[in-house]
């Protein structure tokens, strides 16, 4: 055990002495989060960009409604004209458009809100948040209109009181959750690829020791071949755990993206995948004659399987055949687990997913151990 820790200490020192390691192990996952944010949302950290087109003039009721929308959490409004609004929605500069048509204020005062349209190129998912809250607001004001009928003074008095009342909205919203889930899915997808790559890179150090002949000296010391491999596995697992923790912390606290899954559950699930990654890395190490061979296998296996499993884009958009193929890939089962956890399923109900991941890790590791033990050539080692 002492020797294993001694080896682990050297591996960690050598790894983190190189600046490139910091970039590869921690910089890339963070860059992946940024990329996910670019793909799935604006750089403003998840706020909804709403263009407002006012065709109802400067009526107080219309202005108040615009202020109400402006005051919503995570909503940023831009006053615009009709031509610009359509162009900006189409180009993605705006997420949705709110059109106050002539007669809007009067219709609210009459207790029958009308002449208000909410448009979006991204569908109901994007408009739902504003629509629900706006409906709530207008229903209340319309109720005042209905209660006061044609008594304008009574309406103004009650409406003035209503405006004074404190009105606070919860920042949680349907639109945010959907967007953050997508960002999380994408970030985790990239992270899986980085975990697989870093596991293969780190286990590739075993091959490098073989090429550099230092393993001969290591194994002629009281260190056993098993201890040597375990030390490498230990270091790889530790670095992967750091990668996962840093990625999750950055995701949550630096970028404010709520994954929708408790931190501990997400960490545990990803650590399980880390074992799968290490198992695969050992398998590649066992079947590679040198580090170049391992790098070639890495390129041949990791990127295509990540692509098929849906690490780079949502699995739903893939053809059925590809979806079926992805069932044979561990990345698919991890992403499926995360998605189900985000949908509110408990970890305990995902036993099959977790068992499949454990099985992948075990099979990879056992085949690698069998291959190592069959090797009788000192030049090929273990």
């Amino acid at each position: 055990m002492n020797n294993m820790l001694w080896i682990a200490r050297r591996l960690l020192r050598s790894t983190f002495r190189k600046r490139s390691s910091w970039v590869v192990y921690f910089g890339l996952p963070i860059a992946a989060i940024l990329l996910s944010m670019l793909i799935y949302g604006s750089a403003s950290g998840g706020s909804l960009r709403v263009g407002v087109l006012n065709q109802d003039g400067d009526k107080p009721m219309t202005q108040d409604t615009i202020h109400f929308v402006e005051g919503l959490n995570n909503v940023k409004i831009t006053m615009t004209d009709e031509a610009s609004m359509n162009k900006d929605i189409a180009s993605g500069k705006l997420d949705s458009g709110l059109i106050f048509e002539e007669g809007f204020a009067d219709s609210v005062r009459d207790g029958q809100p009308a002449h208000l349209r909410l448009v979006s190129a991204k569908g109901a998912e994007v408009t739902a948040y504003v629509k629900v809250l706006l409906d709530g607001y207008l229903v209340n004001v319309a109720a005042i209109g209905q209660a006061t009928k044609n008594d304008a003074d009574a309406f103004d008095a009650i409406y003035a009181d209503y405006k004074k009342s404190s009105f606070k909205l919860d920042a949680e919203s349907l639109e945010d959750a959907a967007k953050f889930k997508d960002m999380t899915y994408q970030s985790i997808g990239f992270l899986l690829m980085f975990l697989l790559t870093s596991a293969v890179n780190l286990c590739g150090l075993i091959l490098k020791e073989r090429e550099d002949r230092t393993f001969l000296r290591l194994l002629s010391s009281p260190l056993s071949a098993r201890g040597f491999v375990l030390a490498n596995v230990m270091v790889t697992f530790l670095i992967q755990a750091l990668q996962i923790v840093i990625t999750l912390l950055v995701l949550k606290y630096a970028f404010g993206i709520d994954s929708g899954v408790p931190f501990g559950v997400m960490l545990g699930t990803l650590l399980l995948f880390s074992l799968v990654a290490i198992g695969l890395a050992l398998l590649l190490t066992a079947f590679s004659k040198n580090s170049r061979g391992a790098a070639a296998l890495q390129t041949l296996i990791i990127t295509p399987t990540c692509l098929l499993a849906g690490c780079f884009f949502p699995a739903e958009i893939m053809p059925d055949t590809v979806k079926k193929i992805s069932s044979f890939l561990p990345q698919h089962w991890l992403l499926d687990t995360i998605t189900k956890l985000q949908d509110g399923q408990a970890l305990g109900s995902l036993g099959l997913n977790l068992a499949i991941l454990v099985a992948f890790a075990a099979v990879f590791a056992l085949v690698a151990i069998y291959r190592f033990s069959r090797n009788n050539d000192v030049r090929q080692f273990i």
Partner: protein, 311 residues
Amino acid sequence: MNVLEIRNLTKTFGDFIAVDNMNLSVREGEIFGFLGANGAGKSTTINMISSLLRITKGEVRLLGKDIVKENKFAKMNIGIVPQDLAIYEEMTAYENVSFFAGLYGLRGSLLKERTEEALEFVGLGDKHKALPKSFSGGMKRRLNIACAIAHRPKLIIMDEPTVGIDPQSRNYILNSVKKLNQMGCSVIYTSHYMEEVEEICTRIAIVDHGKIIAEGTKEQLKSIITDTKETWIGVKNAERLDLDALKGIPGVNAVRMEEQSVKIISRGEINNLNWVIQQLIRDQVEISSVEEQAPNLETVFLTLTGRNLRD
């Protein structure tokens, strides 16, 4: 007392027998030369002694203990200087020695002391902070040795420790081997340079096809071939030489070409020099000198194995 005893040692790879029922012993305080051409089985033997390869049959005892049963004890008491440099280029000389010594359980002030001692011993004390990539080939070889001796093993196995280095570093290493031996270490030394083996080894074994075919002091080995003589003939146009015709001359045991001269080993009682010279004349080879020499280890090796050590 024997530091190392090898009894009926055998290693097979499938049908191929790499080491064939080998018997050997290395006494305490010896520098033991282990000679053999490439593929003779010496590396396989060394790898079994160092526990890098499983033994197929037989036993190896270090200081009286079976190396398989007492594996940790054996490993603690052996130091390996591999033929290929086994050092980390990204670590300083001090870190390299300290790391490998640490694998033998050394820690703290003792580790520091032994590391410094090993670096001083190989003449790299003032380079302890330098990275090996800034070292010459000879300095790297010396660092390779320092990594093997810091834990003070009883037996040091040196596999071609002087390959590809300058004469100055070679002398330094040879003197270091002698010094280690004076300090009480037993050494197994393999080399392709016969003159090194002659200079430092107290006893020598010649291995061929996985078997020890001769063993003893250099004088004892030379006495095996007292009935042979060695003739060096300097030639100018050696490419015209018909080596097979020379080998066919009565009494000729072996023929070896070396740049501008041909070495002929013959049975001592047969005077075949006239026939040799007639053959050279027939081949239209220009003779520049003829010299008869007393047999040396090279001759012994060539006679016994039919191969040059560098083959």
